[in-house]
Symmetry: D2
Subunit: 300 residues, 4 copies
């Protein structure tokens, strides 16, 4: 028998960092999962834990770093954690930090106090930082961004076989729940990503490009819409080398109202849960090597 | 044996209604659950379905009504459905319609087209309309409205017994996920609610009052905050007679960083999932009879 | 404004109790939610916590009682907790303890050691004990018990209106996910339930009666099946006075295979998630007063 | 820009197949997800659907095949579907079929009828069949198999750093929720897997080996237990070349009862949800190439 790829760490540590700037407070709310790899044959084969930094310690490190270094952004926090584990523990040669960020908006109140927040947005921002002796990889993403076009979508001209019954349509609702992961261009060699990277601004811009590409594409297929979304991000954001999108086709079926003597002129839809079409693809900058895994909905 | 309270109907019909006003489209997105009661002894005792309007028919009615009457608001749609079932089917003497409304915002795009939407807000708006020969009851509510104050909350002076270990605190994070249901004052006698009621505006106003009361109350206990939230809604909204709030105390524990030689001055918190405190109460206008059930998180 | 019904406590405390009997270990695994009521006007109106036994203390009490008294059964554990809170804290006049029990089976192994377990069964056993100066109420139940008959179910002779399209059927799949809550007959006066009640055996017997009634009833409607299930429990178990069942009709639609030149002779079904029929009813012993709430799926 | 890896198909088609053998019925209950790849540049770049077999057609094919060929096992059904899509549609060069199987047990009843079933077991069986011109890959697995040892687990001798606070323990509860995926040895060349493979029996045997290895290993670390589980499967099942296990360490913390004057001698535990340790590794037969993806919890 051979021990293959292995990793371990504490998953889903929920850390909330409050920063007080007089009456104005700021909040960062993350779920952090650490996965470490390295010289771990002994613990698997004989149960010797000598090389094992415990998952409890990785959790403590998340909390301590939130205090010592603050959380400038999910990506920057992940970089710091990954560097720490690989640098300070000889048996550990690779660290992967996955982060979900939960977004809060402010509740505007009279007076100078600004310490009240409300969870906004349905989508979750994600980040993944991987560091080993080959260098660094930073992925950013989002999941559960639900969007819908009520027209400007058709679906015709597809292949047909014995099992095809779907009628063509020139006007349908197109709805999906965007899962996206994009990869930031690596620094030269094995250098650490530039700490001055404006990760939060980059996220907001890419989110907006995804929304705009979805909204303004006259869609002949969800694949085409997907490609436009990825293409737009790469065109507009030179720092991104690769993006993978996973778009469930959340079917909205026109309800047949004829039995009731009614005509349904693209007005009443049944929103189905399952089954759903699932359209997935990677779009790459010329010359970039694909590195984002195929099963993107699992990140993190 | 005796047959006690019984009801039946189709649950969770997902209906999406698109209205086209030239290039501007509007969307209403509801999950509708119908529960009917009446002269139903036979079907339980002998299996005779003669009095049973099938759950499939109740589903069809939801779709057909979305076409025939549109969806002005969740409450108005529920009123129309409830009236239909009780009026048009003799054996049915009571109808309860529960609705969840999923909110969409617009994706702003260049040009005149306005048919692109993004799911906003984490909370779900709820409505429940009940109609029988005693009249009408309309409840509106929301669930999963997550809010947090990073200061201006303390917890001291509580009862202590042999099992008490909690230290008092003068400064804590107060976070909760608001579940609220409020009851609209009934029309005189058994009259139907005024169709001109501005249900959507009312909802937005009450949501804002809940947020403001949460944000601006210096909290000595979550019970006190809860009461202020309910009180404010009743004070500001004369059309509301009763409100019930269910507030999980989403604990944010200050992480002990002393083992690492660090001082945690209200900066780093661990956000716990379970267990959680659960604070529930009804606030009533003077003279109002309590009618909202105790287990409010179940509505709908 | 008036403060109406209110309650508070710690929800979802996950307590696991191991008992070692030499090499044979036993396990009880509960999720316990405490809700206390009483003289709580002050904390709501002024924020004074003097009457408030903290939710943290109620959680500690759950753990301490698991040690001091063991967990003979969910019901017995709930009775002990309810009695404690009402008896030992003057301001508290009512306690409701809700418990979910997670079932473990043994993994049979060679040798004398018996300390290995595997989670069995999909359903969760539930219990609710309520105690105030009016006495005691004990409810037991289960949820997510999924059952299916592949024949011996028909659905015909139902009422039809303009919106009815469902064809009658003489042979369908009948599937549901049983949610049930039954009420144990109260002891005379305000006496505490007999501690010698064999709660675990009672649960197993009632679960079996529900399964048998479902399996052996030739069904003309799900309502009829529901009534038979409740009736059987009351007939066979004299200690039960009332039972409420909530049965989602988990539709299995016969797939239309004719477009592919195939005949579907009750062989291939599409199992739908939503919408679903929802059939709910209470069955009572003659003379019993209905006390189980209508929204039974919320228990606990 | 370059189009990278892409795939599409219908996800989560819920198909239930009933087979009647006189009064004895049999049931297979699957959730099937199809992902197809091939010559799909056009649909992404120009929206031409000429090469696209619609996701609706892939769903229809699942239902039709359930009728035409029956469902001998999840794996056999997946092989048939994968072969169909790759063989019969030129633009499609690769098919990946993911299946979840929901297990039903019988409800024993008096008399000859055997058509009543109850959902058993908490875990879900999984299968994934991938077919392209390189050949075939068959993975089988399970998820959510929750197991617990109440003793014979210790954790000592681990690495310590500035952030380590965890005390060593010689006796702890070890609990996990097994997620496993194993790969069947491929047939020579690009041949299809032997249709006579006893997939169902193989699954039951491997499930039992996993349970036995978990239960009978005296555990010095969860990594060691994991390795023993994988090793045992490979040792006992020559047809398996690789297995990947993902084991969340479901922490059961001994509750500190000293503040209440009580001694907790391994009796009362708090079962935590998050964070949790996550231990993942692959075990391979000598000479086998690792092919199971790292993020195994995503299969299917």
């Amino acid at each position: 028998m051979i021990l293959g790829q292995n990793q371990y760490g504490k998953a889903e540590t929920r850390v909330v960092r409050i920063t007080r700037d007089g009456p104005t407070h700021h909040i960062k709310d993350l779920t952090v999962s650490v996965a470490l790899s390295g010289d771990m044959a002994d613990v698997h084969l004989s149960g010797s834990n000598a090389n094992v930094l415990t998952t409890d310690t990785t959790k403590n490190t998340v909390f301590a770093f939130a205090k010592e270094h603050g959380i400038a952004s999910a990506e920057q926090f992940g970089i710091r954690l990954a560097r720490h584990f690989v640098t300070n523990h000889d048996p550990i040669t690779r660290a992967r930090i996955r982060i979900e960020e939960h977004t809060w908006g402010r509740i505007p109140t009279p007076g100078p106090k600004r310490h009240s927040f409300v969870r906004g947005r349905q989508e979750t921002r994600t980040a993944q930082v991987t560091h080993d002796d080959g260098g660094w990889e930073v992925l950013t993403g989002l999941k559960h961004l639900t969007v819908l076009n009520s027209t400007d979508s058709e679906f015709t001209g597809y292949a047909k076989d014995r099992y095809t019954t779907l009628p063509e349509t020139r006007d349908r609702v197109l709805a999906t729940e965007v899962h996206a992961v994009w990869r930031h261009a690596a620094a030269p060699g094995t250098a650490e990503p530039d700490p001055a990277t404006p990760w939060d601004g980059s996220y907001e811009r890419i989110r907006e490009h995804l929304l705009q590409a979805f909204a303004t594409t006259y869609s002949l297929s969800l694949q085409q819409t997907l490609y436009r979304m990825g293409e737009r991000v790469l065109q507009e954001c030179p720092g991104i080398d690769e993006i993978r999108l996973s778009l469930p086709n959340k079917h909205h079926f026109l309800v047949d109202l004829e039995p009731f003597g009614l005509k349904n002129d693209h007005e009443v839809y049944y929103a189905a849960d399952r089954p759903y079409g699932l359209i997935e693809a990677t779009v790459l900058r010329d010359g970039a090597r694909p590195r984002i895994p195929v099963d993107v909905t699992n990140l993190p």
